[in-house]
């Protein structure tokens, strides 16, 4: 059976565009506003939603997503309520890919086996753990695989290409999250000059679709990236707008 994530990339490719992967922090600015924004993003063309689980110590995130996480924690959002929200979103959007995006500790704290069962029941397609590199991912993979849930791996600008191959090896129902810049999440005025070359090199080594993220906030940046990737990921720009205006109605990107 082909998974929703594979289908999402295939559909975008067939339509001659890159897949649009949209990140939101669960429960921000409120659980209702988050879910409404997720609906708006699907209506606005998002192929895959990344649902961010707020964590007390978001050390890989820039200011926008950090503040969203702290606010979501204050209003009581946790891993359980994030998974419950994912299940409701799944019920409304049967085709959209859903990725549960988290730091390791909440997942580990729940127990990877229990997590995998709950994620499957919620209709989550894949899990991304920010601080879980190749060396440490075995246990989580072992729990997710029998449930047919993918693991989204990160590839950084300084990841050697041989390691990129090792990272992609054996994964299914997923895509490669190619980080465009060294640093934390957040909007940036410009992307690195060698990004196109780097994305081409990554794609030459892996069969999985490659989506580029970190620092992408405009349609112009997204289009430029999609000449060299199968999809693009937008997070901070959406979270910031949602925080400022309370909704994501209308076109997702300017």
């Amino acid at each position: 059976m082909t998974g929703r994530i594979e289908k999402a990339f295939a559909k975008a490719k067939a339509e001659g565009r890159g897949a649009f992967v949209a990140y939101l922090t669960a429960g921000y600015p409120s659980m209702d506003a988050f879910e409404a924004a997720a609906d708006d993003l699907v209506a606005g063309g998002a192929d895959i939603l990344e649902i961010g689980v707020p964590f007390s110590d978001p050390f890989a995130d820039g200011a926008v997503i950090r503040q969203a996480a702290y606010a979501a924690l204050r209003n009581g959002t946790d891993l359980d309520s994030s998974i419950a929200a994912a299940a409701r979103i799944r019920a409304r959007h049967p085709e959209t890919g859903i990725v549960l995006f988290s730091y390791c500790n909440p997942l580990f704290s729940k127990g990877y086996g229990k997590l995998a069962g709950e994620a499957q029941a919620a209709g989550i397609d894949a899990v991304l753990a920010v601080d879980l590199p190749l060396e440490e991912r075995g246990e989580l993979l072992d729990a997710l695989r029998p449930r047919g849930i993918g693991l989204v791996p990160l590839v950084a600008p300084n990841t050697p290409l041989d390691r990129v191959e090792q990272i992609a090896a054996g994964l299914e129902n997923t895509f490669i999250y190619a980080i465009t810049v060294k640093g934390v999440t957040g909007e940036r005025a410009g992307l690195p000059a060698d990004l196109a070359e780097r994305l081409d090199a990554i794609r030459s080594r892996v069969a999985l679709p490659v989506a580029a993220g970190f620092g992408i906030s405009t349609m112009e940046q997204a289009r430029a990236v999609c000449g060299h990737a199968d999809g693009f990921i937008v997070g901070s720009a959406l979270v910031r707008r949602l925080g400022e205006t309370g909704s994501l109605k209308g076109p997702p990107l300017s």
Partner: protein
């Protein structure tokens, strides 16, 4: 190089840090096999830090308790006033070898920040230190010392505004500038290979103490006691006695206002396995897996995780981990001042308090070795404020 300690440790980092950590491990591996590197490190410890540090028998304190003799390993007499400098000199040498000119560090009590700023000045490097805003307030004299030494201090306002938040911010800095920056981690926590590197640089404490004990007393101590926040001074001490099963190893965690109150920083005694700052560790966390704000009168122990090797030593039973609360630590602080003329750091006072507890029930010919990891000048204001708040 060792990356896991039983089921603890590892390298739980964002992928961008995987390459810099691999580079660090390779550089350290190579340096540790280079006699020139070792020789330069040893000569700096001797001529700059002032090692070896003496062993002082706490005669009057021991006499007042009856029972075991309490012996102090005087890391407080090192240049900069704590054991931290052993590690920062080592890491700065490593940074120079790797061609990095910019050092960053996280600091809690400020002793590691001061020691990093000191090493940066010594080697002519840039230095930026992240420090929780709460700790900036609690440890003002150390903030001034860092600035005096040419370092830039960034107060971190997020979260609990203490050590863990400083470490988050240091990691964010490093991930953005890992080609030019060397992250000097101050304790045996964090992703591999840091716990092993810091352990190696601090193990001079235990090596010296073991030899000094044999020279002075003709025997090994019955027990070796050290405070544990992240746990670098404790690992440094324990390293010297790991293969001496007759020496009991005792780590002392910060009990704050008491384990039962939840206001403490005792990760091994009060936490459960988790993942933070790159390692699987015993972690103070909510049922949902968020990190709990810790509390201790001593800023240097105020951390929700602990070095992975300590977690493993606790699990295997090779070391025992106890809890000393604020009251007991401050009482031991007073006792050491009055009986021995030594003003200890509040962190080290936790280890002294554990020795004070144990000594009376041990025979007179037994020896408790305490790592006096730092001096207490930085804690004057805190102790006075604490006493004021707790006077009845």
């Amino acid at each position: 190089m060792k990356t896991h300690y039983g089921k603890f440790g590892g390298m739980y980092v964002a992928e961008t840090l995987a390459a810099p950590l691999a580079e660090l491990a390779a550089a350290y591996d190579e340096a540790s096999r280079d006699p020139g590197f070792r020789a330069e490190f040893d000569s700096l410890l001797r001529d700059y830090v002032g090692r070896e540090s003496p062993l002082t028998v706490a005669n009057r304190l021991s006499g007042s308790l009856g029972g075991a003799r309490i012996v102090l390993k005087r890391e407080d007499l090192n240049h900069t006033g704590a054991h931290k400098v052993n590690n920062t000199i080592g890491q700065a040498l490593l940074a120079r070898r790797m061609g990095r000119r910019r050092l960053i560090a996280e600091t809690g009590a400020g002793m590691h920040g001061v020691a990093t700023a000191t090493a940066a000045a010594l080697f002519g490097m840039e230095c930026e230190v992240y420090m929780g805003a709460e700790d900036v307030r609690r440890q003002a004299p150390n903030v001034e010392r860092m600035k005096m030494l040419g370092a830039k201090v960034h107060p971190v306002e997020e979260g609990s505004a203490t050590l863990k938040d400083a470490m988050n911010e240091a990691l964010r800095d490093w991930v953005a500038d890992c080609d030019n920056t060397f992250y000097v981690i101050g304790t045996v926590a964090g992703p591999a290979p840091y716990p092993e590197i810091v352990r190696d640089f601090q193990s001079v404490i235990g090596r010296e103490a073991r030899r000094q004990c044999i020279e002075k007393f003709g025997r090994l101590p019955d027990c070796a006691v050290a405070c544990v926040g992240g746990g670098s001074n404790a690992i440094g001490l324990f390293a010297g006695f790991m293969d001496d099963p007759q020496v009991k190893l005792v780590g002392v965690e910060a009990g704050g206002e008491g384990l039962a109150t939840g206001r403490h920083a005792a990760s091994i005694n009060g936490g459960r396995p988790g993942i933070l700052h790159g390692a699987r560790t015993m972690l103070l966390q909510t049922p949902e897996g968020n990190v709990i704000d810790t509390y201790s009168v001593s800023a240097g122990l105020d951390y929700p995780g602990v070095g992975p090797e300590h977690c493993h030593l606790a699990e295997t039973g090779r070391a025992e981990y106890t809890v000393i609360d604020d009251c007991e630590a401050v009482a031991a602080f007073d006792a050491l001042c009055r009986y021995e003329g030594i003003i200890p750091a509040l962190e080290s006072s936790h280890a002294v308090a554990e020795a004070v507890k144990r000594a009376p029930s041990m025979p007179r010919d037994s020896i408790i070795l305490v790592n006096l990891s730092g001096r207490g000048d930085k804690d004057m204001d805190n102790v006075l404020a604490w006493k004021k708040g707790h006077s009845k």
